[in-house]
Symmetry: C2
Subunit: 126 residues, 2 copies
Amino acid sequence: MSQWKQIQQLEMRLLEQVDYLYDDNFPMDIRQGLANWIEAQDWDTAADEDSAAAVLFFSLLSQLEAALSREHNFLQRHNMKIIQQQLQGKYANNPAAMARVISNCLNEERRILSTACMQQQKSLQN
Amino acid sequence: MSQWKQIQQLEMRLLEQVDYLYDDNFPMDIRQGLANWIEAQDWDTAADEDSAAAVLFFSLLSQLEAALSREHNFLQRHNMKIIQQQLQGKYANNPAAMARVISNCLNEERRILSTACMQQQKSLQN
């Protein structure tokens, strides 16, 4: 099961922590739409290496372009085009910043999931 | 048929003109989610009258709150909460500005629809 699917099974209190991770810097629409691809990339390395970050930045744009070409819903297409423009505006000159944001989101998600796991184990022991 | 439904039946070239009308100032998610309610309000009057604009601003927030309470999808809820915050940040102190934006969008949509209608009639006459 993808990390993102596990996240969505969390209780409301923990989901609200996830809510705070996502904004224009890394829209949740992308996190959900490209969940498996995002989780398969090495964002931690890209956060520290400009060349790796540039490769991932252009790969992400290409993933979005492919998703856009498959999308026929007018509202979804509109939102995807806005997200493409936002990412290009924010990160074209600094892709490592995008890698840091995504790396941070994924690490925070893992922290929240492990908190949930530990709470569950604790309640089973009691 | 609502104006918004008519819009979505336009050809791509005209749909792209609609695309440009919608951004953070008036997100298309709201235009679609509250299409009938939005089309039933008098935004032209509210654009010139602060008291009418304030009533419509709080009514819109209340419509959004009701939609949020019915929504169970995590991503959709997240996006709706962001839109609520954006609208409050942008227009709480100047609701007439929101009314002007919405009034302008609806008028531009009508202009685009009438262009499409005239083009259709012209092609039928030839």
